[in-house]
Symmetry: C2
Subunit: 432 residues, 2 copies
């Protein structure tokens, strides 16, 4: 099905939608040249077509009726930027089933319905792409699917949420408290009025699922991911991290070994000489370890109008170029092959740990803690005991060698139950 | 031209060739799954088919006759890993003209004959890919051509030579002299017995040309690149860089503005908080700034058997997948559109500079130097004057604000001619 002009329809005229419209206007010649065919944005659908977005749109392009896009036989590419599970999923499914290619930046939908979307796309001999759903402008999904295509992916570590990274960077570099850093992020527009979704780690979780689905050719759900956000991280631990040669980063980690895959979202201690430690403020980065390529890292802006639009357009160009060259997605030629990958529980992982105990300042307390850790096969790498902050309790910081998470949890249960333990022990995983 | 099995022929059974054969053996299932078709390595051509490479090869696969590959109608993909300008270019041209796709890791050939190779590929409706020619396993060419397809590339800064980066890292981290670091690089196999090609910057230049050709859709030659290697870099300057908050890196820089493109290879002062400053030892990284995506960085192993093989296979999978899906490269449909990009001379660039003068320890010398710099519109940001090393000469280090390179050269000509100047002034560009 070759065409002289390929027409696209956009659903969702928000920030990213605006960026996409701008790119079509300002870089149309590049888009056409790279596609090898003229690409036009024919329709834009949004419930609000009154508000001025500051970009000129030709009359008749705007509509509030989704059918003007989904039922238009001239439109070959549907760009879904409305976000959320539904009705986005229903619209995209209808688009795929009416033989249209889909480009989406919707991480919630893609992470939840990836299998259904891929199957629908293949059944209809079209394609669904979502580069913008992870890492904003960073071409990470292409990197995984194409650039590293010959690799077995062993581990992925991603800084995937600009809001959290901005807050942690502010706390680290400018010695701010969590609340102060969050307030500033909100003032600068890096955080929502209700930041729950970001700081509780759910946004990072969605992206972790998308990356894992692609990397391990499987299908993971929210239940498969152990999620810990950065909400209320204590500045004390940011300071200890610095003293010990680390920086705190919220990481999405997906690791595979012979037993299966473990996916987790966790604030982590990252060594200062690790590339991820240099990823600051609103920037994102994804570290990928493959069996052939070894260690790689992809870095860039993980959000924002133009970076995200850049990723959306890269998908549009890819599809347009394929159409222009007569690439036909053979229906169901590539079956949705999903290896049955075992999901490993968080308890099964092995890691080094940072532990901060709050204990009463009595002789023998450290010995007691060390004794319990030892009984659960947790060896101590270093101990940091500070001058007492108060008479009632003193902080004791312990860095462990690699230990099993389940063992550690059992040990901490015992330690937190001691009369000499004044507060729940603070735990962070330490990556190498 | 759909096929059940796609057959490839390999020219050049050296280190990377060995890696490619290993990947075919160990990851065949992945390669076939990603390609959507079975891919076989049918022939391997090398002058030496006696030496045991430590990988099993089926009988009849090895040959010393290039025609067994180029004249075999069954072979659809030719993998060229022999290196050098010729006869590689002649073989590849013959392969393209006999309707075969080509995958090459040959930076010398690709940098010199890109236009001819693209034209031949398009004339014959086949494709030529060379991901492995720049950045080893890092999928940077795909990133530029596909992931960032909607962007106007504004600037590229690359650490593209593992040998040089290893030497500079050793000098910086372990306070080694250039010669000691080079010797160690040679012992570890990171540098050739004759390291000229690497340390003089020619290898980096080839990669800079390839990246520039792709990024600016133009065609540059060696004459268009100002090249300065790292040979004989003085440890003194590595130390001053550290004191001033910088690290020395050999960078390939390609920058574009309204007047044109400037391409240069130069040892540069990189601020410690710049991501490129964290790229150490044999690793490579490419910083890309696009008008929509903003700043991105791609990092990984720039050389080596398996990382490079990973890149070669990613190209093979791409071609096989296209063939399996009936993608037909329309003959000359995408004309080789090469924008006539003006090449800007090195004299026209604007940069900050690090200057180390060796002058006689007399009152008024600094004033004299500052005076000359001022007359050529070069403003001083900071001055570092150390205790005298000898009675005869003292070092004076000056960091400038942004200045025009031509102005700087004129000023230094004057300064180096002064009776009080004891040695040629050392100059390095400082990036921000």
């Amino acid at each position: 099905m070759e065409k002289k002009v390929i027409k696209a329809g956009l659903i969702g005229f928000g920030t990213i939608g605006k960026g996409v419209v701008k790119l079509f206007k300002n870089s149309g010649s590049i888009i056409d040249a790279k596609s090898g065919v003229r690409v036009e944005l024919k329709k834009i659908c949004d419930l609000d077509i009154k508000t001025d977005r500051g970009v000129k749109v030709a009359p008749g392009v705007l509509t509030t009726d989704i059918n003007d896009i989904i039922n238009d036989p001239e439109i070959d590419i549907v760009i879904e930027l409305m976000g959320g599970y539904r009705p986005a999923f229903d619209f995209v499914l209808r688009a795929l089933n009416s033989g249209k290619n889909v480009v989406s930046a919707n991480k919630a939908m893609i992470s939840k319905y990836w299998r259904e979307l891929r199957q629908a796309a293949q059944k209809n001999g079209v394609s669904i792409m979502c580069e913008a759903s992870v890492g904003g402008g960073i071409p990470i999904l292409r990197g995984l699917e194409q650039g590293l295509a010959a690799n077995r992916i062993i581990e992925i570590r991603g800084i995937l949420n600009g809001t959290c990274n901005y807050i942690l960077t502010k706390m680290t570099m400018e010695k701010m408290t969590f609340d102060a850093a969050l307030r500033e992020a909100q003032q600068k527009g890096f955080a929502e009025a209700d930041p729950t979704f970001d700081i509780e780690g759910y946004d990072t979780m969605h992206k972790a699922i998308i990356i894992s689905n692609m990397s391990f050719d499987s299908r993971f759900s929210e239940r498969d991911v152990a999620v810990q956000g950065i909400k209320g991280i204590d500045f004390t631990d940011i300071q200890y991290a610095d003293e010990l040669g680390y920086v705190m980063k919220l990481l999405a980690i997906a690791s595979r070994d012979v037993d299966g895959v473990n996916i987790r979202v966790q604030p982590s201690f990252v060594p200062k000489d690790n590339m991820l430690a240099s990823v600051n403020y609103e920037f994102n980065a994804i570290y990928v370890k493959g069996d052939a390529v070894g260690e790689t890292l992809f870095y860039g802006r993980g959000a924002g109008e133009m970076p995200t639009a850049s990723a959306v357009l890269s998908d549009i160009i890819h599809i347009a170029r394929n159409m222009a060259h007569g690439y036909t997605y053979r229906k169901a030629q590539i079956a949705v092959k999903e290896a049955a990958v075992k999901v490993k529980s968080i308890g099964s992982i092995v890691s080094k740990y940072y532990l901060r105990f709050s204990v009463s300042d009595r002789a023998g307390v450290l010995a007691q803690i060390a004794g319990i850790l030892g009984r659960y096969n947790i060896s101590i790498e270093s101990v940091l005991q500070k001058a007492r902050h108060s008479v009632s309790k003193v902080p004791v910081v312990i860095m462990t060698y690699e230990a099993n998470e389940a063992d550690l949890r059992r040990a901490l249960k015992k330690i937190d139950a001691l009369a000499t333990t004044k507060e729940k022990t603070v735990v962070y995983r330490v990556i190498n």
